[in-house]
């Protein structure tokens, strides 16, 4: 419990290093930044492993408390964002088709409209955009809630009651966000594909709905489905880990919360881009 959090933070006790005076040379500055980055990375990995361990070890514990909390988090990171995602899906479909259809029509290559949609929306933009929106809407709320709870001593109160804060506060958020990002990405992709065709139809592109969806089906492979699922779950998991780590893993004062929230969002964006890059490599290898 306390040891779990302490371990994760002890590995990345960056506060100590921040107290050191600013370096005189740029080499020192770069070295210090690199060292800080490695320490944070180490802390995040430790926190992720601890969370996974608790998730597996306590999967059968206090189900009557944890399950409603997971449902709550899925609603917050998924269902509640649906209206916004419908709007973004429509905009994304219009945007991609709007930009590509005129170019493809010039070369008489409208047959590749579906393929373009798969490459741009299904493989790249859809999952990344969904992850960024969830990070902005829910991830920030996580840091602020947990940071405030930490500052007000609610974490100590949980420990005094023999309740593992990682089990009660983190596990539901991690599962909720992983499920939320996955589901919202699926909705976003479906919405973008439909609105894409709608825009193409309005631009008089000679393409029947059947042909359009045949193109899409032809461009999709089993790997797309598998990697899409893995990627979105990874996005959700790591966004939750980064935001919860910053909110919970270290003792905070109330005035620290806003600063920590900004740092958590920046690191969340970096983590998402790194995961995306990793999956591009996987596509290339596969």
């Amino acid at each position: 419990m306390r040891e779990n959090l302490a371990k994760a933070f002890a590995l990345a006790n960056t506060q100590l290093i921040r107290r050191v005076q600013l370096p005189k040379s740029y080499t020192d500055l770069v070295g210090r930044k690199l060292f800080l980055f490695l320490l944070t990375l180490q802390g995040l990995v430790a926190f992720a492993l601890i969370t996974l361990g608790v998730m597996l070890r306590k999967s059968r514990m206090a189900r009557n408390v944890i399950r409603p909390r997971i449902r709550q988090e899925i609603a917050r990171a998924g269902v509640a964002l649906l209206p916004m995602f419908v709007f973004v899906a429509l905009a994304l479909g219009f945007l991609v088709i709007g930009q590509t259809v005129s170019t493809l029509a010039k070369f008489g290559a409208t047959d590749y409209l579906g393929t373009t949609m798969v490459i741009v929306v299904v493989r790249e933009l859809g999952p990344l955009l969904a992850a960024m929106l969830v990070l902005a809407r829910v991830g920030t709320a996580h840091v602020i809630e947990l940071g405030t709870a930490r500052a007000l001593g609610e974490v100590e109160a949980l420990e005094a009651l023999g309740i593992d804060p990682v089990h009660y506060l983190i596990v539901p958020r991690v599962i909720g966000m992983a499920v939320g990002v996955f589901s919202l990405t699926v909705y976003l992709i479906i919405g973008a594909l439909v609105s894409g065709y709608l825009f193409a139809f309005l631009q008089d592109v000679p393409l029947t709905p059947g042909d359009y969806f045949k193109q899409i089906a032809g461009a999709l492979s089993w790997l797309d489905f598998a990697l899409l699922a893995l990627k979105t779950v990874a996005f959700g998991f790591f966004i939750a880990i980064v935001t919860c780590y910053h909110g919970l893993a270290r003792p905070l004062r109330l005035e620290d919360v806003s600063r920590v929230a900004v740092r958590a969002v920046s690191q969340g964006v970096i983590v998402c881009v790194l995961i995306d890059a990793l999956f591009i490599l996987l596509y290339l290898v596969a």
């Binding site: 306390r2 189900r63 405030t148 007000l152 609610e154 009651l161 023999g162 309740i163």
Partner: protein, 261 residues
């Protein structure tokens, strides 16, 4: 007396206590203390004397920086999840309550019961309602902590600590900021718990409370200790507290008007 009852509830040997927010900063050193079952301790100290840190360490929420601290015969350093049963024998009431802000008072009180016994809300409801009634909290059961006065917050925190019927109750400055009527209620209720309240099956409870004002705790049956200058001083019974010439104790015994003069 049977064998388990003989075991000291809490035993500290040459303990150094670190601050909760910065464990490297020592707030108390060389603490030697023994609490046996059924005792009622009032540990006094001025502001920033380390009362909260000392109590957190006593509850096994923090390991000592140095020395040995045993709770029910188990080293608190090894107070991991395998020792959860021991941890749940101790109830803790934080100063200000530290209730969970997103839950109602009823949910706050029900949480430990539901979590440790894996009960759905309906099954825990009866027991929770009985405790809320006992602590006169029923009218506020569905209110969130932000909308409750400090007097009732503190009482809700007591309910949350009592829901699992602990054997030992640690209270961090429980009378701080309370109105006169609530203060009287607390002293009466804590006395009932110490003597053996029906809620805990009539079993006498061991109580340890910290305070920055010794006067309300005046009672011949209680034991007193002082935290001052990073040291722990056991003072003994009330008559010994009254007869001491220690200026800090005199200050903790003085009424606010006397302090001003």
């Amino acid at each position: 007396m049977s064998e388990p009852e003989k075991t000291a509830v809490l035993e500290m040997r040459d303990v150094s206590v670190g601050a909760m927010r910065d464990i490297g900063f020592i707030v108390l050193a060389g603490v030697n203390w023994l609490v046996t079952p059924g005792e009622f301790w009032a540990v006094a100290g001025q502001q920033h004397a380390g009362k909260s840190d000392f109590l957190m360490l006593s509850a096994g929420l923090m390991a000592p920086v140095q020395g040995d601290c045993k709770l029910f015969g188990t080293e608190t350093r090894r107070f991991d999840e395998t020792k959860l049963t021991e941890r749940l024998r101790v109830g803790f009431v934080f100063e200000g309550g530290q209730l969970f802000n997103q839950l109602t008072l009823r949910e706050n009180v029900a949480l430990p019961l539901q979590y440790h016994r894996d009960l759905p809300p309906a099954e825990a409801a009866h027991e929770v309602a009985a405790l809320l009634e006992l602590l006169e909290l029923t009218p506020l059961a569905e209110v969130t902590p932000a909308n409750v006065s400090d007097n009732w917050l503190q009482r809700a925190a007591l309910a949350r600590a009592l829901i699992l019927k602990p054997e030992v109750l640690l209270l961090d400055n429980p009378l701080a900021g309370l109105g006169a009527r609530h203060r009287q209620w607390w002293l009466r209720f804590l006395d009932q718990l110490w003597r053996g309240h029906a809620w805990c099956g009539g079993r006498p409870m061991t109580l340890i409370a910290t305070t920055d004002d010794l006067r309300p705790w005046r009672n011949a049956d209680r034991k007193f200790a002082l935290l001052h200058d990073k040291k722990f001083f056991p003072l003994g019974a009330w008559n010994e507290v009254e007869s001491t010439n220690d200026p800090v104790v005199k200050e903790l015994l003085a009424a606010p008007a006397e302090l001003i003069s």
